[in-house]
Symmetry: C2
Subunit: 218 residues, 2 copies
Amino acid sequence: MHSVSEENYIKTIYHLQDGDALVSTNEIAGRMNTKASSVTDMLKKLAEKQLAEYVPYKGSRLTSAGLDCAMQIIRKHRLWEVFLVEKLNFSWDEVHEVAEQLEHIQSRKLIDQLDQLLDHPKYDPHGDPIPDAQGNYEQPKHTQLSQLKPQDSGVLAGVLDTSTRFLQYLDKHQIELGTQITIVDHEEFDGSFIIKTAQKSLPISKTVADQLYLKLNS
Amino acid sequence: MHSVSEENYIKTIYHLQDGDALVSTNEIAGRMNTKASSVTDMLKKLAEKQLAEYVPYKGSRLTSAGLDCAMQIIRKHRLWEVFLVEKLNFSWDEVHEVAEQLEHIQSRKLIDQLDQLLDHPKYDPHGDPIPDAQGNYEQPKHTQLSQLKPQDSGVLAGVLDTSTRFLQYLDKHQIELGTQITIVDHEEFDGSFIIKTAQKSLPISKTVADQLYLKLNS
DNA sequence: TTAAATTTTTAGACTCGCCTAAATTTTAAT
DNA sequence: ATTAAAATTTAGGCGAGTCTAAAAATTTAA
Ligand SMILES: [Mn+2]
Ligand SMILES: [Mn+2]
Ligand SMILES: [Mn+2]
Ligand SMILES: [Mn+2]
């Protein structure tokens, strides 16, 4: 159907896309560690294949066919991540690289059965929602920790940054999905917070607070 | 490490190799549905990379590095096949195409954990032995059904042809790995047999008899 | 043993995905 | 409104992997 390279571009455009704004060539190149000229080449091909609209010098956006394709890839990526964590003892910071490969395996039955084996999970190990076979999913409306005030509390339901570095930082401080977190204090001058979990109190920078999404308590 | 294409060539050479005889360019091309000229190109590259010896106009054979590589790919292929059958409800005639893709996923941890999840299986769904992490395996010495005489019996332990067509033929006649089979009769003039299972008696051609490997009783 | 048939390699070309360098367009700043 | 800076595209090229057609080597058959 589509090449691995095409699929990676489609997924990247999807992730960079915000509403119906065009995604710039440079943004794609930056995210994919390629050169802008390579991106231009691929955008022409995706436009040719009706997977993306491409307006020279302005940017690109996925067509509905491209969006469908993106959802299938993301569904596969996230299901494989769940599989790796639930069945193969991977930690949440190890799954990305492998899922990046597995998401390109072509087999409808494979992914349907995997979904079943895992009991139709709704979220991946980083709290991201898993689209169903039709490509539909509901974006849970979680609250960025950095938006909260002292006394607010909730459980960690998602992380924005899924890099190994960041996830291992959370591991080090015994913070994982489902961890109950209460805001203790907020420093206005640098935006940092002091948070409390069942285990301990912890000061975190604004940078970290921006990455954490909580499901607020009742 | 090695490209998907290189890996596919290595695997093919392994399967065609018999002792230390050279494998011919045309044999490889035939098996891989490519042209002889493409094979020549790749053989030069594999020789360059020390994965195969290549004697122009004579043929090629894997070096010990190539053999190691082949065993790892085959290990992955067969473990994934077991996974598909045991965990994802694939039938033995559906696994090959998908395993052909999955065998190229690069992750040591993935395959070690998969092996563990499956309880270190010794054989794949077609009765082929699964190499261990070091690439070692013992070729079970099963007997080709076509070598047997009336009264001989055993359980089906392996099939040579793993094509969908052939496996579905066996399914149709309720023959699967582990099925107890007794030779009832052997026709000298065309090499055909009449065999008996718990379910029924069945005449099979020499062609079919050649594909079936039995573990003899007692 | 010579000629014909077969196998294999070489030569040249193509697509895909990527790159660098140069040209062009857009945007931001004076 | 010009000009400088930044973003983007074009032009040309490269490696991997494949193909077709032609040349060369090997095998087989007469
Ligand atoms: Mn990917
Ligand atoms: Mn994820
Ligand atoms: Mn393969
Ligand atoms: Mn098999």
